[in-house]
């Protein structure tokens, strides 16, 4: 057995109210490529941040080449030989390729920078990686593939012994992926250990020596790649039972679709997305983060421009150019980013509640304070929003109560189609159930609820029908009444295996 470079032993990391990692194990060896997979929220990002010194574990050990280490800063992790190529590259696009490589480790000649030497080293580095680029040009001049190589060069310049690659192929072309995989193998041959995080199973099978699976912040298993297959990997990733926290009450599905989406297309993001949604049903949207679910909803709501496609409501074609048109067409859209896109934190509960339907509270030229007050009182009671008064600033409320305010805002538009993007993200269990009850009520009233969620239990617990997306396409549909309505088949569609 080859010797270990980096090991995690029984690492635990908590955030207020959440256990992100517990008893986490990891072992990367010299000259191997270790695949790391897990579904959304399994703890991959936290794990990477612990390894790179961004987070400090509450318990457990980080062992680098047999010695226990504690990283107070990312810089310390880098000096210990652990570098990470993040999915979002840290490239300064206006600076030259050389500048990007030598940021923070400039080579000086006297008081000045020695660009002659740095350009030379950078050029050699790029050549070694098989790239023909002019290192004097701005990094933004080159595509994602080259920019990624700059990041890898940065790691190599820092004498990395272990390189973490966080979904490195997600934004590369096919040819660039091939080149990247080749470079990974070269690095392996030089004795570097690589942790390869990916959502693409075939890539993992093609490239890795061993694969580690984590789930819900816990370590599940590590095996040689030959001992895994698609089914066993998926099982290891989901392997949990659904509990009874979903008070699902089925509604009566309308005969004809309320919403029909035909061939929505957005270059590089969405590819001919088509589906129908009915009144009286919850249509769940599942898939991995970045599969295009939010983008689909934003396209329907007119928040982003689309390159093609049609939207029909009750069989009639509608032209939605902006959110205003969508609201007029009786569509409501609860965004996944509550604070950034849903609420005005410095404004009162009342002002947030009326925002999407200001006209509804207008009497003549003016807003009717009486109408707004009674509406606010009503919503606070109905949704049990805990607050001293409706004049309270929304920023002062807890996450769950904030979410209820956003829900109240959309209920006030009296829409027919409710698009809820991650409606229970970051809120406590009690508030979650209350959100589910609102969904039940809407369905009973014959409204159409489209729920995007990255939580598998929630998708299966609340949906009447599930659509699965992958890379901007719909890759699966399961109905609650069929045998295929289970975690395995949803996961298979999400990973397209």
């Amino acid at each position: 057995m080859k010797e270990s470079i980096v090991q995690l032993k029984d690492v635990r990391k908590t955030f207020p109210g959440v256990v992100a990692l517990s008893k986490m194990q990891l072992d990367v060896r010299k000259g191997e490529i270790l695949g790391l997979i897990g579904e959304n929220g399994a703890g991959k990002s936290t794990l990477i941040k612990v390894l790179t010194g961004v987070y400090h574990p509450d318990e457990g050990q980080i062992i680098v080449e047999g010695q226990e280490r504690q990283f107070k800063t990312p810089q310390q992790a880098i000096s210990a030989g652990i570098s990470c190529v993040y999915q979002e590259l840290n490239i300064e696009k206006l600076l030259s390729v050389t500048d990007n490589m030598f940021i923070n480790k400039w080579i000086h000649k006297g008081p000045l920078l020695d660009y002659g030497k740095m350009h030379q080293i950078a050029q050699d580095m790029m050549k070694k990686l098989g790239l023909d680029v002019d290192v004097r040009k701005p990094a933004g001049h080159y595509g994602m593939g080259v920019q990624q190589m700059i990041e890898i060069s940065k790691a190599l310049l820092a004498n990395a012994k272990c390189i973490i690659m966080d979904e490195p192929t997600s934004s590369l072309s096919e040819k660039e992926v091939e080149e990247l995989l080749k470079i990974c193998r070269d690095l392996r041959a030089q004795g570097i250990g690589i942790i390869f995080v990916s959502h693409k199973l075939e890539e993992l099978f093609q490239l890795c020596d061993r694969i580690t699976v984590i789930r819900d912040g816990e370590y599940i298993d590590t095996k040689d790649v030959a001992d895994w297959d698609n089914d066993s990997l998926i099982k290891a990733m989901v392997g949990r039972s659904l509990d009874n926290q979903f008070p699902k009450e089925p509604g009566v599905r309308s005969e004809k679709p309320l919403l029909e989406v035909k061939n929505i297309h957005r270059k590089g993001v969405l590819h001919n997305v088509s589906f129908k949604a009915y009144g009286g049903e919850v249509l769940g949207f599942s898939g991995l983060v970045g599969a295009g679910r939010t983008e689909t909803m934003r396209a329907i709501f007119g928040a982003d421009p689309i390159d093609g496609g049609e939207i029909y409501i009750r069989g009639e074609k509608v032209d939605i150019k902006n959110p205003k048109d969508a609201i007029r067409a009786k569509i409501a859209f609860l965004t996944e980013d509550r604070k950034g896109q849903g609420l005005i934190l410095n404004e009162s509960i009342q002002n947030n509640l009326i925002l999407a339907n200001l006209k509804g509270y207008q009497k003549g030229l003016f807003l009717s304070q009486k109408d707004m007050d009674s509406m606010g009182e009503g919503r606070i009671q109905e949704l049990s929003i805990k607050c001293p008064s409706q004049e309270e600033r929304v920023g002062q409320l807890s996450g769950g109560n904030q979410q209820k305010v956003v829900i109240g805002k959309w209920l006030n538009t009296n829409a027919d189609i409710y698009i809820l993007d991650e409606p229970t993200r970051g809120i406590d269990v009690g508030a979650k159930v209350e959100v589910y009850q609102v969904i039940n009520r809407l369905v009973k009233e014959g409204k159409c609820v489209i729920m995007v969620s990255s939580e598998m239990p929630e998708i299966l617990g609340m949906s009447d029908r599930v659509l699965v997306m992958r890379e901007g396409r719909i890759t699966g549909e399961m109905s609650r009444s069929t045998d295929a309505f289970n975690q395995e088949s949803v996961m298979k569609a999400a990973w397209e295996v």
């Binding site: 928040a303 950034g340 007050d373 002062q396």
Partner: protein, 324 residues
């Protein structure tokens, strides 16, 4: 609801107390301060700044700024001057022309921001200030133009006339405008949209409000009010002078808004607070004159007042966050 209205009032108590204390201090320091003539002259001085502050406040609420208000006022006055030189002397026509000019300047500022996507209006309105400064000098051939004995004296009424035994008309008009604007900001859908756009532009857009149009409106109104201020300035001085475009009028307007509770972060500020802020600035400047403080020191102290007001605002915010 009742509670919140009281809460709002309590927000002004500090500013109001500062104004009163300032007045008492000046009354003690200078026997002339409480003269009726002096008090009326303070109100007259307040009018010009209060008009500029109206537009400034709106842009500040939307998390923007309009650094061209002073130059717009000067440019408007110079347009009137140039027209008089050309022989156009109908006061009503001049009056309307200046308002239109102000509105158009504001429209350009608004469109640069929302349609051509210039980054922060700090840059575009600063550029506009210089454009207007140059334009004001060009159309007046860098000459001061007097309105006396031209047949266009009528336009000076707004800035110079008084009613009820010395009360300046300009201040009466300003009060009327402030009441209207207060109603606009607090009682109408547009008013809510302005605050909400300043608080979170994206959330406002996704709530179906055309945030671009809301912003453009604010800049048009700012230019319009600056045009109005330009007419008041003609009445006060009897002339138009292109060189005034680079006077620190914008700073005085910003100071009035910030002292009155507006924030550079947007989403905050009221007409009542801004009026108190404008009065404080006018009283300060008047006090300086009465006490013969050199203008260099006036500028220095006013700068410190602005910094102090922002500091107070930031500290208050941080205390609130801590409390939570």
């Amino acid at each position: 609801m009742q509670k919140s209205k009281l809460g709002n009032l309590s927000n002004y108590i500090g500013t109001f107390a500062a104004l009163i204390i300032l007045c008492i201090a000046l009354a003690l320091a200078s026997p002339n301060f409480l003269d009726k003539a002096n008090l009326m002259s303070i109100l007259k001085q307040t009018s010009f700044n209060a008009l500029l502050s109206t537009g400034m406040l709106l842009t500040l609420i939307t998390a923007g700024i309009d650094l061209s208000v002073g130059a717009t006022a000067t440019f408007g006055a110079c347009v009137a001057g140039a027209m008089v030189k050309m022989g156009i002397t109908n006061p009503v026509f001049l009056f309307l022309a200046v308002l239109v000019v102000g509105g158009v300047v504001g429209l350009i500022n608004g469109l640069l921001l929302t349609r051509l996507h210039l980054p922060h209006p700090f840059v575009s309105t600063l550029g506009m200030k210089n454009v207007l400064w140059g334009a004001a000098l060009i159309i007046t051939s860098s000459q001061m133009i007097s309105f006396s004995n031209t047949g266009a004296e009528g336009i000076m009424v707004l800035g110079s006339a008084t009613i009820l035994g010395g009360f300046p008309i300009s201040f009466v008009v300003v009060i009327a405008i402030y009441i209207l604007m207060h109603i606009l900001l607090t009682k109408t859908a547009l008013g809510r949209s302005i605050y909400c756009a300043g608080g979170n532009m994206e959330a406002t857009r996704l709530s179906g409000i055309n945030a671009d149009n809301v912003l453009t409106f604010c800049y048009v109104l700012s230019g319009f009010m600056a045009g109005f201020a330009g007419i008041v300035s003609i009445g006060r001085s009897g002339i138009s002078n292109g060189a005034n475009a680079i006077q620190p009028y914008d700073t005085d307007a910003i100071a009035a808004c910030i002292i009155g509770g507006a924030s550079f972060m947007g989403g905050k500020g009221t007409m009542v607070g801004t009026m108190l802020g404008a009065l404080i600035i006018a009283v300060l400047r008047n006090g300086f004159t009465l006490l013969s403080v050199p203008s260099a020191w006036q500028n220095l102290v006013l700068g410190l007042v602005i910094i102090g007001a922002v500091l107070l605002d930031v500290t208050r915010e941080r205390m609130q966050k801590k409390k939570k």
